[in-house]
């Protein structure tokens, strides 16, 4: 079984990545397994300057998942390029840099600097974080997203992925805007906006009030987005949202993903992505596929089954 896959110019040794925000910059996991064995590491979002993150309670468990409102706490571009990136390079990891910002100029600054730094396999722009002011603005307005993607596109020659938000009525105009402005692929999906209530305290559980829902609870939502976008657009997709087992990963590939990322499941099992990759290989072999590309979209019934759009 050939596990290697090319996703929009991003060459991966296997199709199982780890999702941004669930793997830090790899250090906590490096103690537990060889992080170079992962398809790629989508590192925690990097901004121009260090970000403190949100005050108050940041985590609330929910049925089959969790809400988080971390607020993109990160050490900033200088620290990432000076300390984290050289370390990741030394470890032999395939690195996808997740870029966050408040303005188009901030995204461009991070994307161009990490591209110039070398040792980066791809850029993923996060236009869909529900936990920062304005974090969802780029990801819910097709015109704004088009301008942002165009600007970042001009700043890097690396494969460029746009991580879209599920918190929209229709994702297709956003997906199209990203692709038309030069994105090489889409990451689907970011977390689903949610809320938890602390009954004893009679107030929202999270300090930020709302948070991003992840874990098995969002898997059907993510699968729907992957399936829908694949049925309308010929664009490479990294599918994510609630993947905890090899069978989950295969569902995303059948729905139309070219690769997948494991996220919150790493919090309950830091080896989850490694185990998913191993299990996925055996599963696809058993199903008679010779490579991942053969299996991608295997469950697609055709465009007419999702209605005109």
């Amino acid at each position: 079984m050939d596990m290697s896959v090319d996703v929009g110019g991003l060459a991966l040794k296997n199709p199982v990545l780890v999702a941004s925000g669930t793997f830090g910059y790899g250090r906590e996991f490096d103690k537990l397994f060889d992080i170079a064995a992962l398809g790629a590491i989508m590192v925690k979002g990097v901004s121009t300057l260090p970000w403190a993150g949100n005050p108050g309670r940041r985590i609330a468990e929910t049925p089959a998942g969790m809400l988080n409102a971390i607020g993109l706490q990160n050490p900033g571009l200088e620290h990432f390029i000076g300390v984290d990136l050289p370390w990741l390079r030394e470890k032999g990891a395939t690195v996808v840099v997740n870029v966050v910002g408040h303005t188009s100029a901030e995204y461009v600054a991070v994307a161009s600097a990490v591209s110039a730094a070398g040792g980066v396999a791809a850029i993923e722009i996060n236009v869909s974080c529900p936990n920062i002011e304005g974090g969802l603005d780029f990801g819910t307005d097709p015109a704004g997203l088009a301008d942002l993607v165009a600007a970042v596109r001009r700043s890097t020659a690396l494969p460029l992925f746009v991580k879209l938000s599920p918190n929209v009525t229709d994702i297709l105009p956003l997906a199209r805007a990203a692709v038309e402005e030069g994105a090489d692929g889409l990451s689907l999906i970011n977390t689903v906006l949610g809320l938890a209530i602390d009954v004893e305290a009679r107030r929202p559980s999270l300090g930020h009030v709302t948070g991003g829902l992840s874990g098995p609870a969002v898997k059907p939502i993510a699968l729907r987005f992957v399936y829908e976008v694949r049925s309308h657009l010929d664009v490479p997709i990294i599918g994510m949202g609630g993947i905890a087992t090899a069978r989950d990963a295969l569902e995303f590939i059948y729905a139309g993903a070219n690769a997948v990322a494991v996220g919150s499941a790493l919090f309950r099992n830091p080896l989850a992505a490694v185990e998913v990759a191993e299990g996925l290989g055996s599963l696809m072999e058993k199903e008679g596929f010779a490579c991942v590309a053969e299996a991608s979209g295997a469950a697609q019934l055709g465009r007419d089954r999702f209605g005109p759009s």
């Binding site: 260090p50 993150g53 309670r57 985590i59 050490p75 309950r268």
Partner: protein, 259 residues
């Protein structure tokens, strides 16, 4: 020792006080590597319980097993309380740093409610190292005073306080702190920790506070269990505004964190 994750088998689960359970788990890797004050994440096989594990201090430790002591407060702890011998859970650990201790002399441990369990092994370790230990335990009432017999068996001096006066001093456990207590480690509810911090600031004693928070991972990746730092390192900018309870803690110098 770096943390690891292993399947663990439940050996016993008993209600040792109203609503408080002791769960004994066979988990060789954690049991043989935990240091006093460190903790574990305990969780369920996928689909057989909550998605995330529960961060838990350990209480007793013997051979290849250890126990956790917890009050039933939600769905996760209610499910743990129903665990039976032979059930399979997972354990990730050891997590966090051991509690700090003075090189010699008196160590005063303050425990409130279910903050008492981690103090047992800390007391034992300090006494075995030739030190003296005073343990001050607080609870709402006599029935909720946890770990008394086990703590006394370590030869620690134990004093109690209860809200209703049914066991020991009537009033907050921090009333029992005296001038002799110069190195204090406290674990318990936020109100108790704030009282210890205030007492330490007034008395000049060295106080450490063991904190807890909802955690997703327990090993430093999710940034979910942060606490505001009192004096962030300016060189690190905004990123240093918070510290991770799971990784930099769970015990912090009282002046290091805002609680």
């Amino acid at each position: 020792m770096i943390p690891g994750r292993e399947d663990a088998t439940v050996l016993a689960c008993d209600e040792i006080a109203p609503g408080v359970f002791e769960l004994v788990i066979r988990s060789p890797r954690a049991a043989t590597s935990l240091l006093p004050g460190q903790f574990v994440e305990v969780g369920w096989p996928l689909g057989q319980g909550p998605f995330l594990g529960r961060p838990m201090s350990y209480f007793r430790r013997e051979g290849q097993s250890f126990s956790i002591l917890f009050r039933v407060v939600g769905e996760g702890t209610a499910l743990l309380a129903r665990a039976r011998a032979g059930d399979v859970l997972w354990v990730m650990g050891p997590l966090g740093h051991p509690y700090p201790r003075p090189e010699k002399g008196l160590l005063t441990l303050v425990g409130g409610g279910v903050g008492v369990p981690p103090l047992l092994d800390v007391a034992r370790a300090h006494i075995e190292a030739g030190g003296r230990v005073r343990v001050l335990i607080g609870a709402r009432n006599r029935a909720d005073l946890l770990g008394l017999a086990e703590l006394r068996a370590t030869r620690a001096e134990v004093a109690c306080a209860t809200d209703d006066g049914s066991g020991g001093h009537k009033g907050p456990v921090t009333d029992l702190l005296t001038e002799a207590d110069t190195f204090v480690v406290a674990c318990g509810p936020a109100g108790m920790l704030r009282a210890v911090k205030a007492w330490g600031a007034a008395s000049g004693a060295t106080c450490h506070l063991a904190l807890e928070a909802p955690m997703a991972c327990g090993f430093g990746a999710c940034l979910g269990c942060t606490v505001p730092a009192s004096e962030p390192d300016p060189a690190k900018g905004a990123y240093a505004a918070y510290r991770r309870i799971c990784t930099e803690g769970p015990a912090f110098a009282a002046g290091e964190v805002e609680i």
